[in-house]
Amino acid sequence: MANTDDFILSMRGISKTFPGVNALENVDFNLKRGEIHALIGENGAGKSTLIKVLTGVEYPDSGVIEYDGRPVEVRSPLQAQEIGISTVYQEINLCTNISVAENIMLGHEPRRFGTIQWKRMNILARQALERLSVDIDVSQPLGNYSVAIQQMVAIARALEVAAAKILILDEPTSSLDFNEANRLFDLMRKLKSEGIGIVFITHFLNQIYQVADRITVLRNGRLVGTYEAALLPHIELVGKMLGRTITDLDKVSKAKVTGEQPESENCSLEAKGLGRVGSLQPFDLVLYDKEVVGVAGLLGSGRTEMANLLFGIDAPDSGTLIVKGKRVNAYSPLESIKNGVALCPEDRKAEGVLGDLTIRENIILALQARHGWFKYLNAQKQYEIADKYIEMLGISTPSPDQLVKNLSGGNQQKVILARWLATDPQILILDEPTRGIDVGAKAEIQRLVVQLAEEGRSCVFISSELEEVLRTSHRIVVLRDQKKAAEFSSDVDDQTIIRTMAENS
């Protein structure tokens, strides 16, 4: 390792376990003075947990944090700010109802006998913004300005009030347009030249190459490595992000009809020019019976947006959707369920499970929704269904009356799968069904998807892990920058897909 004196921050051997999940496992991370250090990885890779540990939101199970050469214990975000670690989040943690000046100065505002000196405060705030080359009326409420400006104000507060030495920018560019982002990069370079260390988290890979000096890649809570940005080619970076997980690959491969086209040519779902402004540009997609179509793409490429359009969570503003030969007119989850479509949503906790309800209730929910309010399944029938799927999917639980929140991630995912299988869907859309669950459960779910297709259903399999998309799918759709970039048959090699996913726009 190079000269450690350069490091303003060094985190070593950081581990953090949440119930059922190893969020971080023995991760090292360091930051030099006057450096822009990109931290990347897919969702669930451990980026946000690492940042939470650094800023005192979470306390690590083990590991050391050294700040400026001295070990520190960061207990709260406030304490982190005091020692000079400030974070600007994607959702800006400022108050939109009070003025820009207050947002920058409050807590350290100039006062005389307890009275806020507004004039002086406004001048100081304007000066703080001038340092960032921002010229706005600081007496206006923050909410009157765009997100880009709000972000600048948040940075100004971090520098002014907290006198930050380390600035963490968490997905700062995700809601900025091209010019705004460039302006932010200019600012980052300027701060870097002032000796401030910047941790930059983003999922836009080309932006990383625009500003970052070094890159740290995380995957599944583990450190993949830290690299000099100049020495790491784009394609290689994507490969490192997607990785190859060691699973019991053989079993799945055996079950799969490799490369063969599905026997049936029956078209179960067809999207023609389906699109929605701001989420996904119009795309075509055909889905046949007994077929698994994999969807690959980086974070923000429009994966979840595609699932939401197909399932009717979001109504499209262009194109048509034809399910089993019938054109869909009303877009809603209930309508989709009636058409035989099912969606396992990406965010299991917020959109999937009902933690305080039992396994049985979670499993019958969608079926009951299709039955309506008054055709209630009696208790015996409910237990029959629950038992059937608990057995079929191997959900490990002492009883169907267990609360779902007490299950592990993998078992929760199986419960959601069971909920949809109970409705006997023709078309299954699975958005990241294997995220955050252990290796064994992953393989089981992959095998299940293949098996379901063999039984005559069709599946859309969305995943950030290229390996499993390749393994389970008959065809692969690649998304990039919120549009469909290409479609491949399954004998394509992973390098081609990675190249398509990563291509500079």
């Binding site: 109802n97 009070i98 009275t115 806020i116």
Partner: protein, 326 residues
């Protein structure tokens, strides 16, 4: 300049609407009933709404932090009953009044602590406060207890002439509301406490991350509301010269409605204490129009206030949405 005016209107839309509505209602009233054109009628509004104005001002801070205080009317009743009992026992007014204020602060402080430390919904905690205060008032006296104290009598009957008008007056207690308003305007715009109140109402999590004293501020807000209620209770006992647990029934609702009509959002963080007195005055104006009419009955006040509350919630969500979009 035009830009500034536009900004001002955009940032203060609900407040300006409230003030306009107040003058509009008063204007319509005085057109319909010429007797309302007398200046004294206008100042009677301040006499009649003295207590409501004080509690509403205290309530504004609470609502700005996204909370609610249902205990205010109970505190008015308790203060009036306790004052009457103490004065009847011969306690000096100079002792009774400060004692009541301290009681109000302690009461609000306790509620604030329960809300903050035990993390219980404000409306349940302050509901308990309402029950408790009213119950204690009934423990003190089961029926209205007259106050026969020369100081109270003097305060109740001394007229303060309004300069510039002939024979137009208010009573001393009616001045407390406007004075309190000045204090609160100072607090809300020129102290860290006031700005923290706004920040908490917008996003408590952000306020905490900004290092602002969230817990302390919330507790102070409830203590201040308790103080205002006790003050309103003193005013109430002065103007009625009696104390009783059944006084000010349902006034917490009038206060909340006044604050909302005054342009403060029940979702917190948005509003201006300047609007609150206008909300109170609108309430008072509706009452006096009904009195002048004579045939319309008092329940129209409640329906009118309810309707105005609905309209204001509508207007505010419109303003809010437009702001979010722009």
């Amino acid at each position: 300049m035009a830009q500034r005016v536009k900004h001002f209107i955009k940032n203060n839309g609900p407040l300006l609407t409230t003030i306009t509505i107040f003058f509009l209602i008063f204007f319509i009233g005085s057109r319909l009933y010429p007797a309302m054109q007398k200046p004294q009628v206008f100042f009677n509004l301040f006499i009649n709404t003295a207590s409501l104005m004080i509690v509403s001002i205290g309530m504004t801070f609470v609502i700005l932090t996204k909370g609610i205080d249902l205990s205010v009317a109970g505190m008015i009743a308790l203060t009036s009953a306790a004052s009457a009992a103490l004065l009847a026992k011969g306690a000096a007014p100079g002792l009774v009044m400060p004692l009541m204020l301290v009681m109000g602060i302690a009461f609000g402080f306790t509620l604030g602590c329960i809300i903050h430390f035990l993390k219980v919904e404000p409306f349940i905690v302050t509901l308990m406060g309402l029950f408790f205060a009213r119950g204690m008032a009934y423990v003190i006296t089961l029926e209205a207890m007259p106050i026969d104290n020369p100081t109270y009598r003097a305060l109740a009957l001394t007229k303060v002439l309004i300069p510039g008008f002939e024979k137009v007056y208010v009573y001393i207690p009616s001045l407390i509301g406007p004075i309190l308003l000045l204090v609160v305007i100072y607090l809300s715009f020129f102290t860290r406490f006031g700005r923290t109140v706004y920040a908490i109402g917008n996003n408590e999590q952000s306020a905490r991350l900004m290092g602002l004293p969230v817990g302390r501020t919330k507790i102070i807000v409830y203590a201040f509301s308790g103080f205002c209620s006790a003050l309103a209770g003193i005013v109430w006992s002065i103007s009625l010269l009696s104390g009783y647990g059944g006084y000010a029934l349902g006034m917490e609702l009038d206060a909340i409605a006044s604050v909302v009509i005054g342009g403060t959002l029940l979702t917190g963080g948005v509003g201006n204490v300047v609007g609150t007195p206008f909300g109170v005055l609108i309430n008072g104006t509706i009452v006096s129009i009904l009195q002048f009419n004579g045939t319309l009955s008092s329940w129209w006040t409640r329906i009118g206030v309810g309707l105005l509350t609905l309209i204001f919630i509508g207007i505010q969500s419109l303003f809010y949405m437009r702001k979010k979009h722009s």
